[in-house]
Structure formats: C-alpha cells, structure tokens
C-alpha cells in the first residue's frame, strides 16, 4: 500500500481567507522555515474552491506532489459569511497511486459535512467566535429564506435526524463555547438528544488518521455515538476479464482453507469442482448451478487472484514453446517448482489438483467426451502411470523428481502440428515420473508454452450465409438418407427422405445451425464442443455435413 506524505485540515477564515489549521507532520506545509513540501499559496484556490467545485473529490498536482481533498461548503445563517468551508486534504507523492484512498477521502468529507450541519462540530472546534454571527439580528425575510434553505437541505440529506436547524442560535453556540472554556470537558460532551461527542480535536483526529493509515492501512476513530471515521484501504484492481464457458479455472491457493461462514452458498457449491480439469460450463452442470452465477463466482475468484484460467486438457491438444521458454533457464526458482509440481500423480491423490485418472470416467460427460477421440492413448497412459504408481509403492512412498534439464528438453520438444498423444508416445520414457497434465498446465500458466487452438472454418458459411442454407440442406438430406452419417459424395443428390430419418434429423438440423452460428463467430473446437455438449468427433461429422472444412491451428 502506498503511503501518503501528509494530511492537513483547512478552513476558510472570515477575515484571513483560506487557512491551514492543522497539519501532520507538523510544519510540513506551512512553517516559519522554508522547509515545506510545497508552496501552499499556489494551490489554496483548489483546496477551498468556489462552491461549484465543492462536494466533489478534487486532485491537483503541485511540484512532485498530488493533493487529494473533498472540499465542503455549508451555508447557514449562523456563520459569519453565511457559510463555513473546510477540507481534509491528503498529500501524496505524485508517483504513487492515490486511488485506494479516494473513496475514503470522499467519505471523510461527507461525514464531517453532516456532523457540521447538525452539530457545528468543526466550526465549534475552531474555538473562535469569529466564525459565527448573531443571526437574530438579520432582517426577518432574509433569515427566513436562509432558514428554509437549510431546513430543506437537512431534510433531504437525512430525514432520520429530526433536528430543527432553527434551534441553533448564536446564543447557544456562544454558551457552548463559554462552557467549554470554563470547564475542561470537551465541547458538547453532553450534547442535546443524548449524542455523546468523542472527538477532542481535529488535530488529534488527523494525527491518528495519518499514523493508522500509514502503519496499518486502516483506522477506526469514533466521533460520536453514531459516527466514526472508519477507513480501510483496498487496492484498486482492474475488473476481471471476460470468461468463456470452455475456460478452466485452476486454484492458486487452497480455496477450502479460505472459506468462512460469510461465504456465498453458490460459491460453496462450486468449490469442490474447481480442480483444474472442469470447464466453467461443466462446473455449472456438476454443481447444478446457473451458468451465469457460476461465471460470476469464478470472476470473483479471479479478481482476487485465487485462480487462474487455463484450457480443457485433452490428449488431442497441441502445445508449443513461447518466447518466454528461456525463463525456465533463467528464473532459478521455476525449475525447482516445476520439478515438485509435475511429480507423478498417485501419491498426491488427496491434493487439490486431481489427475484425470482419479476422476470417474462415467460421469465425465463433457471433458471426457472431448477426450474420447484419443481414448486409446488415454488408456495406454493410464496403464503406464499405474505401472509407475505400483513401482513407487514398492519403494515405500519415495518419489522421483525428473531432472531439470530433462524437463526443459521436454518443454522444448513440444511443437506445432503435434498432438499431446503423439508427443507422449515419443517421450513416454522421459515422462515416466511426470504427470502430463500438470506438466503441461505448469508450462502454460508460467507462459513457457502455449496451447495451439484449432478453429474449424468453412468458407461457404462465412462467405454467403443465405446461399449456404440451401446447400447445407442438400447436405443434410444426403446425410440422413445415409444411416451412419457417412458423407457419401455420390449420395449427395438423393432427395428422398422417409419420415423416420426426417424425425431424426430434427435435433441434428438444430445442431448444424448451432455449429454454423459458431463458425461465423470463428469459435474454436473447445468452445463448440462445450457449448453443444458433444464431443469433437460429432462436431467433425456435423461440419462435414455442412461442407468441406479447414482447420486452422493458431
């Protein structure tokens, strides 16, 4: 959290004009010596500005500082110039961001605006009668208009307060101040309507704000029985990015450890399914929750950096090195972390990141359907991994870390145009002690490698949407006159459709339209499969039904 340099309290003095009454640290802005942060006179018109700028957060740059304040001006007949103006102003180094403080500064101004309107808390604390005048001496109609104004104002601000401002008279203030000077009790400790004022001086207030915020990033200073200056600084984070249904969240922290009683039930419901394998869409299915709500939850977790987003893991995926692969050699911790993270799965079954092997095959409708095309390799790898598991068991809970150079060679051996399946076959010996999914997701999350996405493209769909409707119908007809979806070119002109096939084609027809919608939006296979909840093979068939298609790997 950025510290601020100083804080000062300014009022408009009826005869001396804009004046700093208190400053912390002492003498930092006005002092006898010339050793001040900046020349206050240059900016005082921005500190106590004309009424048009009051009740707004103002920031002004002076030299290498930035002053942030919320000037307030209150009109009331009992003030010397019918108004009282003040500003609590924070001084920041110009390089530092002040955004975390801004809402608090705004609130501070608003609190004291209310308190001043109701109890003249600030004006009385000046301990100077020069800020007040005897309004009873005013002409009758003048008095009324002012009074009306004030009354309506306090009504609109907070109708709960039943204070009638007409009760505030010069004499009352006078007696208040006198009793203060005669007794040692702070002003208004025994206020009317039982309000107990705890604020002793503005100086101690800003002193405490200055110290607490700079030391603890928060403060809690009671003002009276109903109000206090509560400030807690939060860094301003950018809003979470847009997410897609096929995005997969991976937790960066132990999410279950963060849970407390205040957590949203929707969040609790989805938590068990955030495992680095399930897509957002799938989490919503598994948790039986609304997709939009799940997405919002994931965005919240992302906002607080509890998770990162990755891709659906499939053996048909393609990965390739990025220009950041050098980091594996130059960042001395990365290789170590990687060694520990990718270690063969079996021993860490109970850890947050489960392997695909330990999840149930049968209910794996979305993610496993995407993998189905490469099922044979999945099984092969399963056998392999299980083999290594039993081997490690016999050696009594010992694990083997793959050497760093080998890990690097494995990352560099990934390339465009090669599926994980083929890569695995080629390097199965080196991958003996490695969890492939964790190995790849580590690489993606650290930016060492990237996922090469596959986009199906059908020229005719993009070129001319209207014409393609007809041709795709033809395709469909041919398609469903052929029981096995086989796109037989010679059958294309077959026009007869019997009722049974026509009925069957209804869902297919719908799916084809869906696929075309995705094609026009240039969606990749992951997105299409997730949205239609069908696997890659079926999408391939649907695509073939529409027309010859190309796959771009980008």
């Amino acid at each position: 959290m950025n510290d601020f340099e100083a804080i000062f309290y300014t009022v408009f003095h009826p005869t001396e004009g804009t004046k700093i009454l208190h400053q912390v640290p002492e003498n930092c802005i006005i002092s006898e010596s010339s050793n001040t942060l900046f020349d206050f006179d240059l900016v005082k018109n921005y500190i106590i500005p004309k009424s048009q700028l009051c009740d707004r957060l103002l920031t002004v740059k002076i030299d290498q500082y930035k002053l942030v304040g919320y000037p307030v001006s209150i009109n009331a007949p009992h003030y010397t110039r019918n108004s009282f103006s003040f500003n609590f102003c924070f001084v920041f180094n110009y390089e530092n961001k002040s955004s975390a403080y801004e809402s608090s500064i705004r609130r501070l101004g608003r609190i004291f605006k209310n308190l001043e309107e109701q109890y003249q808390i600030l004006s009385k604390l000046t301990n100077d009668m020069i800020y007040f005048k005897d309004s009873s001496k005013l002409k009758e109609n003048d008095y009324l208009t002012n009074d009306d104004l004030l009354a309506s104002r306090s009504h609109s601000i907070d109708s709960n307060y039943t204070i009638n401002s007409t009760t505030v008279t010069y004499n009352q203030i006078l007696s208040d101040l006198e009793s203060h000077t005669n007794s040692s009790t702070p002003i208004g400790t025994a206020q009317k309507d039982g309000n107990v004022l705890k604020l002793e001086s503005v100086e101690s207030l800003i002193q405490q704000i200055y110290q607490d915020l700079n030391n603890y990033s928060e403060c809690l200073i009671p003002i009276d029985s109903g109000n206090s200056v509560d400030i807690k600084l939060f860094p301003q984070l950018p809003p979470p990015p847009r997410l897609n249904p096929e995005d997969v969240p991976i937790s960066m922290v132990n999410l279950e450890g963060l849970v407390d009683v205040n957590w949203d039930p929707a969040m609790l419901k989805i938590l068990p399914y955030i495992n680095g394998i399930n897509s957002i869409k799938r989490i919503s299915v598994l948790a039986n929750s609304d997709y939009v709500i799940v997405k919002t939850c994931i965005q919240h977790l992302l906002y607080y950096k509890c998770i990162i987003i990755t891709d659906i893991f499939q053996f048909s995926n393609i990965y390739a090195p990025t220009s950041s692969i050098n980091l594996f050699l130059t960042d001395s911790h990365m290789a170590l972390e990687c060694q520990a993270y990718v270690v063969s799965p079996s021993i860490f079954k109970d850890k947050p990141f489960e392997t695909p092997l330990s999840s149930n095959h049968d209910d794996d409708s979305i993610s496993s359907s995407n993998i189905r095309s490469s099922k044979s390799s999945r099984i092969a790898s399963a056998v392999n991994l299980l083999g290594s598991y039993s081997a490690s068991l016999t050696r009594a809970e010992s694990i083997i870390l793959t050497s760093k150079s080998k890990l690097f060679y494995l990352y560099r051996s990934l390339h465009q145009g090669q599926t994980v399946k083929n890569w695995y076959k080629e390097h199965s010996e080196d991958l003996k002690y490695i969890d492939v999914r964790r190995f790849l997701s580590f690489g993606v999350l650290r930016g060492l490698i990237y996922r090469v996405h596959s986009y199906p493209i059908i020229d005719s769909v993009l070129q001319n949407e209207n014409n393609s409707v007809f041709s795709s119908h033809q395709h469909l007809e041919s398609l469903f006159s052929n029981d096995n979806f086989r796109d037989d070119l010679s059958n294309r002109r077959a026009k007869t459709l019997n009722n049974r096939l026509n009925k069957l084609s209804e869902t297919q027809r719908k799916q084809v339209e869906e696929v075309k919608r995705h094609l026009r939006a240039s969606k990749n296979f992951d997105a299409i499969c997730t949205d239609l909840e069908i696997d890659r093979k079926v999408v391939d068939q649907l695509l073939r039904a529409i027309g010859p298609y190309n796959v771009i790997n980008s």
Binding site: L42, Q52, L57, L58, T59, V60, K61, Y94, E95, E102, S156, I157, D158, S159, N160, P238, P239, P241, R242, N244, P245, Y291, V292, K295, I308, I309, D311, S324, I325, N326, L329, T330, S332, A335, L336, A340, I347, E397, S398, I399, I400, L401, T402, S403, S405, K406, F408, R412, H415, Q416, G417, G447, V452, D459, H518, S522, N550, I552, N553, S554
Partner: protein, 703 residues
C-alpha cells in the same frame, strides 16, 4: 480491458489564455462536450448486458428473462458495436458508448421518476436517506447536460469559471498541470511568458538531456512529469530575428499565458497510465509547438484574437454554425478540432500550425515480443515476434539490441507505397519517395541503403519514422526457406472480413482459411513446401507478406544454446587434474545462471522442494542432472571455455573457425535466421556446423 487497447478517453480540448483582464476561455471543442457528471469511463468489456447481445454465446438465453427493461439498452449497444466493428479500433469506444447508454438510461429513469414524483408529491418528505445520493447524481448529471446546451456551459462549468480553474498561478506554469474533478481530469502544459516578457529564451546550444527526457517513453514520462519546460525548449530556431517579434507588439491586450487543456475521464485503474500517455504524446508536444509559433510570430495570440472576434460578431448564431465559421476561418481552431477528432478516435492527428506540419498520436500497442495470457485482450491483428522493437519512441535509440540488428531487418509496409507517399505529401523526386518505392519485405535495410544510395543511418531513421507512424513494421527479410506459423495472436474473429480482402488481392490463390490451414496443419516446415511451383514463388511470397501485415502469421525462429554433457565435464575435470588445477563439482546446477552461486548447496534446493510439496514427509530421489546449459558463451568462465574447447576438439579447423564466428549468438536471444545475414554465412554452412556439434546443442523454436 487492458492497457494494450487504445482508450484515449478524451472528452474535449479547451484553449484558455490570460490577458490583463484575467483568464479567458477562447475556444473549446467539441462544441457541446459530454461531461458524464465527472464519472470515469467504465469498463465495458465485461458487462454482461452488453456482451450478451453482442456476442454469440449461450448467455443470452440465460439473460433474456432478466432483461425486460434493459432490452432496449442491449439492442442499442449492439447497433453501436456493429457500426464500429469494421474499424480495427472498435474497442476503445465501448467504454464511452456505455457511458452514453447509461446517460440515456439515467435520463429515462429520471423522467420516470419525475412522473412518479409528481403523482406522489405529497409524500415527498419520505424519501429515504439511501436513495438520496443516486437521485442527486441523476439530477445533477441531467441538469449539467441540459444546462450545457442552454446556457453555454462547458464541462458543467461557466466558461469564465472553467477558465479560472485551469489557469494556475504562474509558478505552476511551464510544467505539467493536472487537476481532477471526481474522475475527470483537466490536463495540459500551461505556457507562461518569462520575466523578460519572452515566450522562449534563446539558447544557442540546447541541452541534449532535456530533449531526451521530453521524448522518453511513457513509463519514464511518469518520472519526468515534473520536468520543468523551461522557456528554452527543443525547437531549433532557424531565424533568430523572429524571436523577439513578440516583444515589439505593444498591444494592450497582451497575452501572458496560454493553456491547451485536454479533458479526459480515464477508467480509475488506468488513470495514471492514460493521463501520462496523453500528456507525453499529445498535450506537451502540441503546447511546445504552439509556444514556438507564438514566439516566432505571435501565432497563438493573433489566432485567439481572431477567434474571439468571430465569436463576438456571430454571437447570435446557433452553436454549430458558429463553430463552422470559427474552424473555417481560424487555422488554430481547426487544428484543435482536428486534434480532438483524431486523438479521441486513436488516429494520427496531422495538424497544420502556422505553415508547419506536425503529427501527433498515442502509439498503438500492436506489436509484442511475448504472448499475453489468454485473459488479457490485445488489439486484433497485433504482431508477435521476439524481434519486435517495442516501446519505441520517435527518437528513442536506447534499444541497443534492436539498433544493432536494424540493418539486417527488412521493412514490411502496412499500406501500398503509393498511398503512403501521397499521405506523406512527399515529393516524387525526394529521397524519401525513392526509399519508400524501394522497400521490399525481402530486402534488408543494408541492401536498401545501397539500392537507394543512402546512408544506413538515414535509412534507419526513415524506417523508424515509418514504423512509429504506423506505416511499416520491421521483420526479418522474408525468405521462402524460412518457416512460418499461424500466430497465436492471429485475428481469427476477423477472418470473415479479411478473407474477402485476401480474395480480392490474390484471386488465383487458395482462400485465406485454406491458406492458413496449409500453414498450420503439419509440423512447421519451410514456406517453400506449400509453393506449388517456381512460377508461383513470387505471388506466394506476396501473400506471405500480406499475412504478416494482417498479423495472421509469424516467422518461427530457432534459438540455440550450448549444452555440456557429463561426459565432457568429466573429461575436462580429468584434464584439469592433470594440469594440477583444483576443481569443484556442482551437480545441482543445470543452467549457468550468473546469480547462482556455485557454493549453493543442493540440500537447500531439496528443502525448498519439500516446501513446494506441501511439507509432506516423503523420500525424495532426484535424477542426476546430465547437462549444463550455457546461457551466454560470450561471457564464459575459464571452466566453461575449457568445456567449449573440449566440444570442439574433434572438429576440423575450418569448422572451428566458423564456430568461433557464431558461438556468441548461442545465447537463446539471437535467432539463427539472423545470424546468417549478420555474419554473412550461408544457410548450408550454418547447418553444417550445427550438425557437427548437434550433440552439444539445444535449440528452441518460437517466434
């Protein structure tokens, strides 16, 4: 949303001057600027209300129920998005569009409320305290916008008041001025005459330093914010006599200060970044040019006089007619208007100021060395290559590496040469014209210099100029034997539009999708592999240049390191023992990271490892490291040099000579594709040496 997307957030430009009668607002543009009640530009990108209609996604189904009242909003936004979609820069509007929409919504809600209020006016006092704030903001924002139209308010203030608040005391002039009201910032470089009544004091030799800092990149500019723009500025005056002409004028309306104020409402989290950008690239530069012209010929004060006169004589005209007259008759007003129109839409502003042409822009971030995380949006069509010169400024020559390589790079024009020449208004016989005509993506700047009979330094400076002004991009000279991949940043969502352009440009070639499929469906291979015959070579290379220009493909480069196997290490160790040199073996290390202390114990590593493994008590066995990868052979230690010599021992003398030439590039930073032209060796030669020591080499392929 990210800082990689352009988002000028510019609401308007105000020109204020000070004369003996005090500050005065001379001109502002647009005629009725929007204020949005001083709110920041919201992030529109993740607004579901907007998204759902705009994007094909299943969310629309989910949302359709909730929307009823907001329906018109999303429909409205969709229309807005569609109209903007054609232009590449569609992203930056979204925030502002949203504000417009919200404004519109506010207005409607307000009207509804008014009606409601009228109906239960008797219950007026029961307004709860909670709703007060919203109501007040609604009404004030509405009032401001309505008032602005009726009473000539500018940014919610009376013109006189506005001119007062953006006129700082003299001590705060000639340095950055920044004043924010809620989230709206008034930013500029107020220019004040000095004690001698001059706009600029003349200095024969201006310090190179000050110039450098004014041109520093945005990151630095935040540091140089406090830079005092003393009245000795960076413009070399050609004619010394003109300098004092301002002095001679004894007009009673003498101007003592002028200030071009840029009014912006950046999103809160990007506030500093956007403000710095605007100040550094636009506000300060424009103000300095104006100061120069004012010093030379009283350009600013004359123009202000002019504008005020036009305003006075045409007082009763409707504001838009008045503005037509002003921008027509006053070059300064028209320049400011043009500046607003271009900068607020992220275009380049080409302004004519007193016969002097200046160009201003906030550079686009559209070339990257590293791939951004998938959740970080970037401009579609951005170019990805580790050879990119990023963060370059017009005259930024800090980038040693890129400067060193610049001569071996080629230029890829982003537009047709004819169009660029005519846009630059270059003479058909000028060296710049010849230069542009000679540019070819296969020709390196070195060769280009020879072809155009120009100095390399001049060619480089022309090239930098073209790159900075969005006319060109620097690439490794195209070659049919090079390998290209479809870029991970390829603008897939623009394929429908771009395939039409591709078809029109290359009617005889396969369609854009097919072409990209050809490039990406196999293991990366030389581009020549997809060229059907020798006759097709030229057109295929043209198509390749097109694909590079649109960001669809990028070159796959090969980077090389030396690796030292245990065998070599052992041999060297024995050799050293024979020579009587003590050695220390360090098994834990695998890359010669310079910060890595050789004494660092392996135990420490294992401890750390255990902590990564959640402290679980397990027996950990680690495979022995086999190889050490040398990160920078140029700075090899004595031991490392022994290893290298050992590797070379079995090679022929001529290969060793070749090796010595190229070994310094085996650092993972210089691609071998560039080594070829830098060291002027042939592809086959390089292949030969790499083959000969293939056991001792580790290579990676990326862009």
């Amino acid at each position: 949303m990210s800082v990689f997307l352009p988002n000028p957030c510019l609401l308007g430009i105000v020109l204020v001057i000070t004369t003996h009668t005090g500050p005065q607002l001379v001109f502002h543009y647009p005629p009725t600027p929007k204020v949005y009640n001083y709110q920041a530009t919201p992030f529109a990108l993740d607004n579901d209300l907007i998204d759902s209609a705009d994007e094909i996604s299943d969310e629309s189904d989910y949302l359709s129920d909730e929307l009823s009242d907001e329906d018109s909003l999303s429909a409205n936004s969709q229309r807005n998005f569609e109209t903007q979609e054609i232009s590449k820069s569609s992203n930056y509007v979204s925030g502002q569009t949203l504000l417009d929409l919200l404004d519109e919504q506010d207005r409607r809600r307000k009207e509804k409320e008014k009606r409601k209020r009228r109906s239960n006016i008797t219950k007026k006092n029961s307004t709860s305290s909670g709703s007060f704030r919203n109501n007040s903001i609604d009404s004030s924002s509405l009032d401001i916008n309505n008032l602005a139209k009726e009473s000539g308010q500018v940014f919610g203030f009376d013109p006189e008041f506005l001119s007062e608040i953006v006129t700082p005391p003299r001590q705060l002039c000639n340095t950055r001025f920044e004043f924010t009201v809620d989230d709206t910032v008034f930013l500029g470089l107020p220019i004040h005459i000095n004690e001698e009544g001059l706009w600029r004091t003349k200095k024969q030799k201006r310090e190179a330093k000050s110039k450098h800092s004014t041109n520093a990149s945005v990151n630095e500019s935040s540091k140089s914010h406090d830079l005092v723009y003393t009245n000795e500025d960076g413009y070399n005056s050609e004619d010394k006599n003109s300098l004092n002409s301002g002095h001679e004028e004894t007009n009673e309306n003498t101007m003592t200060m002028f200030h071009v104020v840029f009014v912006m409402n950046p999103p809160v989290v990007e506030f500093e970044y956007r403000a710095d950008e605007m100040f550094h690239y636009v506000a300060s530069r424009l103000s300095l040019v104006l100061r120069y012209e004012q010093a030379k010929s009283n350009f600013v004060s004359n123009e202000c006089h002019n504008i005020l006169k036009i305003k006075e004589t045409n007082e009763n005209l409707p504001i838009y007619q008045l503005y037509n007259i002003i921008t027509e008759k006053s070059p300064l007003a028209s320049a400011l208007a043009k500046c607003f129109n271009s900068i607020s839409t992220s275009q380049i502003a080409n302004l004519q100021i007193n016969d002097k042409l200046i160009s201003l822009q906030i550079p686009l971030k559209n070339s990257f060395r590293n791939l951004m995380p998938k959740t970080t949006p970037v401009l579609p069509g951005s170019f990805l290559s580790s050879m990119n010169i990023v963060g370059e400024d017009e005259e930024d020559i800090d980038n040693e590496f890129s400067l060193e390589n610049m001569g071996y790079m080629a230029l890829l024009l982003l537009d047709s040469p004819e169009k660029i020449i005519s846009d630059l208004k270059a003479d058909s016989t000028s060296p710049l014209t010849t230069f542009i005509q000679n540019i070819h993506p296969m020709i390196s700047l070195n060769r280009l210099a020879a072809l155009s009979e120009m100095d390399l330094s001049q060619v480089i400076s022309f090239s930098r100029h073209l790159i900075y002004w969005r006319r060109a991009r620097s690439i490794i000279p195209l070659h049919s034997k090079s390998v290209f991949i479809v870029s991970p940043m390829a603008p897939m969502e623009q394929i429908p539009q771009n395939m039409k352009i591709f078809k029109a440009d290359f009617p005889s070639l396969p369609s854009l999708p097919l072409f990209l499929a050809l490039l990406s469906n196999s293991k990366p291979r030389p581009y020549a592999a997809i060229i059907p015959s020798k006759d097709h070579r030229d057109i295929y290379l043209d198509a390749l240049a097109w694909l590079m220009r649109y960001g669809y493909v990028t070159q796959l480069l090969t980077f090389v390191w030396l690796k030292v196997s245990n065998g070599i290490k052992l041999e060297v160790e024995e050799e050293m023992e024979r020579d009587g040199i003590a050695t220390k073996r360090d098994k834990a290390k695998f890359a010669d990271i310079s910060v890595d202390n050789t004494t660092r114990a392996k135990k420490e590593d294992t401890e750390k490892l255990k902590s990564y493994l959640n402290g679980k008590e397990v027996k950990i066995e680690e495979e022995e490291e086999e190889d050490i990868i040398l990160l920078d052979p140029e700075r090899a230690t004595a031991l490392e040099r022994r290893w290298i010599n050992r590797i070379l021992r079995v090679q022929t003398p001529e290969l060793i000579q070749l090796f010595q030439k190229v070994v310094r590039y085996f650092n993972g930073k210089t691609p071998i594709e560039l080594i070829i032209s830098k060291e002027n060796i042939s592809r086959t030669e390089l292949k030969k040496i790499l083959h000969a020591i293939s056991e001792h080499i580790v290579s990676v392929k990326h862009w």
